[in-house]
């Protein structure tokens, strides 16, 4: 999908593999967790791209790789025209002013021993803006996110989860970035607080001209804030489409199954729904199925092509879909079947150590 050359972030065939090491005496490289396995996308200036998927799909890894917090194993990342894939720490530093991140766990994303003022002021100090105006800027930032100015001298443990996410937002906004990666920012919050934070983020996007990559597992939350949505499964994008279209007209079998699995707070609707139940567990990213990643659980799987040939991410009705038979699924030519459940025999998440830099 072309974005008219207005892309702030361009990703080309990104791969992020984490080595699995095992052995009695010496650790040998026995395989890789293919967390991200060929993701290409573009994020337009000013838009919100939602990135959704279940555990092990690689969405968080994509977000962190974009910020170069993980090193890409292959592929290209371009930020505002600059290829940042292989830049060193010193070259990245000035660019980091323009790309920031907010994290999922409000209890782990703030240093418990630093005061709020120090936390929010850190980006300013690191980039040389820590002069006399620092206190004033920090206070303004706190007010922007809806926190009282006297929070400056307090510590994270005095605040609730929702308040801590606001602090995280204030920190992310300190340098007036262009791009914000939001890694499941509301998943750990109570329902009534989630809405507060989502609304705040929408307002901030307007006020500060921000571009968002909104990573979440909750499709309902993502719908509210995103312009376009990409659905990921086992390290690849299965479908990419404008937000509302994804819900009104899902084309990929995984998207269809995912949508039908999400409960809706309305008993009448729930009763009338026919849900497509995916069977078995999510395959491990260390050992993904060959060819089409989804073929082991796909209710619409066909005897030809699905198990041998990896589908291309191709345009269809305004979406990008990675499926051989999407047209037939849409036309109702294939009836979904209940597949046999395959449960992974071994431990799901093999141990891996992400590289430090």
């Amino acid at each position: 999908m072309s974005t008219n050359g207005n892309a702030l972030v361009e990703v080309e065939d990104l791969k992020v593999y984490f080595p699995i090491k095992s052995g009695l005496v010496m650790d040998r490289h026995v395989g890789d967790v293919k967390a991200v396995d060929g993701v290409s996308l573009e994020i337009e200036r000013g838009e919100t791209l939602g990135l959704v998927g279940e555990s092990g799909c690689g969405k968080s890894t994509v977000g962190r790789a974009l910020l170069r917090l993980y090193d890409p194993t292959a592929g290209k990342i371009v930020f505002d025209g600059t290829d940042i894939t292989h830049l060193g720490e010193n070259q990245m530093r000035p660019l980091r002013r323009r790309m920031q991140m907010i994290f999922q766990d409000p209890y782990a994303s703030l240093n418990p021993r630093h005061s709020i003022g120090r936390i929010v002021g850190e980006p300013l100090r690191v980039h040389g803006r820590g002069g006399k105006e620092l206190g004033k800027t920090v206070r303004e930032l706190l007010q922007t996110v809806g926190l009282p100015a006297d929070a400056i001298s307090r510590y994270p443990h005095e605040f609730s989860g929702g308040q801590r996410q606001r602090i995280g937002l204030a920190r992310a906004l300190a340098l007036n970035p262009d791009f914000l990666v939001c890694d499941e920012p509301v998943s750990a919050l109570d329902v009534s607080i989630q809405a507060q934070i989502v609304n705040l983020m929408e307002r901030l996007q307007d006020d500060f001209d921000l571009t968002y990559l909104f990573i979440a597992h909750d499709l309902a939350v993502v719908r509210h804030i995103s312009d376009r949505i990409a659905v990921m499964y086992l390290g690849q994008i299965m479908e990419l489409s404008p937000a509302d279209d994804l819900y009104d007209n899902p084309l990929h079998p995984y998207t269809i199954s995912l949508l039908s699995a999400i409960p809706i707070p309305d008993p009448e609707v729930e009763k009338r729904r026919s849900s497509i139940l995916l069977q078995g567990d999510l395959p491990s990213p260390a050992n993904p199925p060959a060819a089409c990643r989804f073929h082991t659980r796909c209710p619409y799987v066909q005897p030809t092509r699905c198990r041998e040939e990896e589908p291309l991410l191709r345009p269809l009705e305004g979406h990008l879909v990675k499926c051989h038979y999407a047209e037939d699924v849409k036309a109702g030519l294939i009836t979904p079947r209940v597949r046999e459940a395959v449960f992974e025999p071994g431990p799901q998440e093999p141990a891996y150590v992400p590289p430090v830099d």
Binding site: N199, H217, P267, V269, L277, L282, F343
Partner: protein, 336 residues
């Protein structure tokens, strides 16, 4: 309406902490009939989990039941001694917990953990118990059940472990199954499987199900009756159909307004509930929701409203309940 299996009245639970007394549950009453599904929905800290732990006598050491009764099979659970409760736990009332990663003992095989309730409550020997265990695993949809008995929890995924937990809970055919956030830690597609499994098993056995969760969607799909809990009290109770189409309590309305839904109209505006959940270090002296409530009246700040029937089978704890059609009007208006 069948005779209730469990009747709880005015349950009160307090915790002693270094920061003072926490008033976790402040007078809740409910009952549940055989084969019925009751949902208790609320956010974190509202006291919903504490309720189930109190009923089974497995509160933390600093927790104490300070009032109320819980009649089950003619006896008050809250007054029973531990030896008597032990005969009930697992046998007549069973529980499924939230985190499948930690609720199974990592050093015991699945087989051992499945056999335990069978041996304790039915006196089965190992081979009898093993046969029954294989049956149970098959019923919860785990293939190659016989070999699986010898596996350890870490060899199972989250979804599978939850199935095992359900198998253990249903091993002795309990009359009441309490499920505390059984799918919160699971992926959405796995959640759908587990909920479907629970629904099937429970209706096959005519087991009563008390489902505790914060997820309104889950409750809508699983429960016949719903109690909405906030700050240790029920704010609204009634049938799921009534509560979701005509919520009368401002908190229930607020929850429905703030939850993003799949079937919402184009970019429906989320209406958050302002403020944060109530500090539970003091006993409620006013309506606990008043500080965050758009509909509060003077009386809300003076006393705790009583839980009153607003129409048959539908109760609300509010001095100024929301008009019956308010939610529908908003929904239709928002979809335009």
């Amino acid at each position: 309406m069948r005779t209730p299996l469990l009747t709880v009245e005015d349950l009160e639970v307090r915790f002693g902490t270094s920061r003072g007394l926490v008033y976790a549950v402040n007078g809740i009453s409910f009952d549940i009939a055989p084969g019925e599904t009751l949902g208790i929905v609320g956010e974190s800290g509202c006291g919903k989990s504490v309720t189930s732990l109190a009923l089974l006598g497995i509160l933390a050491r600093n927790g104490r039941v300070t009032g109320g009764t819980a009649m089950f099979g003619g006896r008050d659970l809250l007054k029973l001694k531990d030896e008597q409760l032990r005969l009930i736990r697992g046998r007549e009332i069973a529980m499924v917990f939230q985190d499948p990663m930690t609720s199974l003992n990592p050093v015991l095989t699945i087989g051992k953990q499945l056999r335990e309730p069978l041996q304790v409550h039915f006196g089965m020997d190992k081979s009898q118990a093993d046969r029954r265990a294989v049956e149970l695993l098959e019923q919860v949809g785990i293939p190659s059940a016989k070999q699986r008995l010898r596996d350890y929890p870490h060899q199972f995924s989250g979804g599978m472990r939850q199935r095992v937990m359900i198998a253990i809970a249903l091993a002795c055919e309990p009359k009441l199954l309490i499920a505390d956030e059984p799918t919160t830690a699971l992926d959405v597609t796995i959640q759908a499987q587990i909920l479907e499994l629970l629904k099937t098993l429970v209706s096959e056995r005519d087991t009563a199900l008390m489902l505790i969760t914060h997820d309104l969607g889950v409750v809508a799909g699983m429960c016949e009756r719903v109690n909405v809990m906030y700050a240790g009290m029920f704010m609204e109770t009634g049938s799921a159909a009534a509560l979701f189409s005509q919520p009368r309590h401002p908190y229930t309305l607020g929850l429905l307004q703030s939850v993003p839904r799949l079937d919402a109209g184009r970019r429906q505006k989320l209406m958050p509930i302002p403020g944060s959940p109530r500090n539970m270090l003091s006993p409620p002296g006013e309506c606990p929701f008043a500080p965050r409530c758009r509909y509060e009246v003077e009386q809300s700040r003076q006393q705790v409203p009583p839980l009153e029937e607003i129409e048959p089978g539908h109760q609300v704890r509010c001095f100024n309940p929301v008009p019956a059609d308010e939610w529908q009007r908003e929904r239709l208006g928002g979809a335009a």
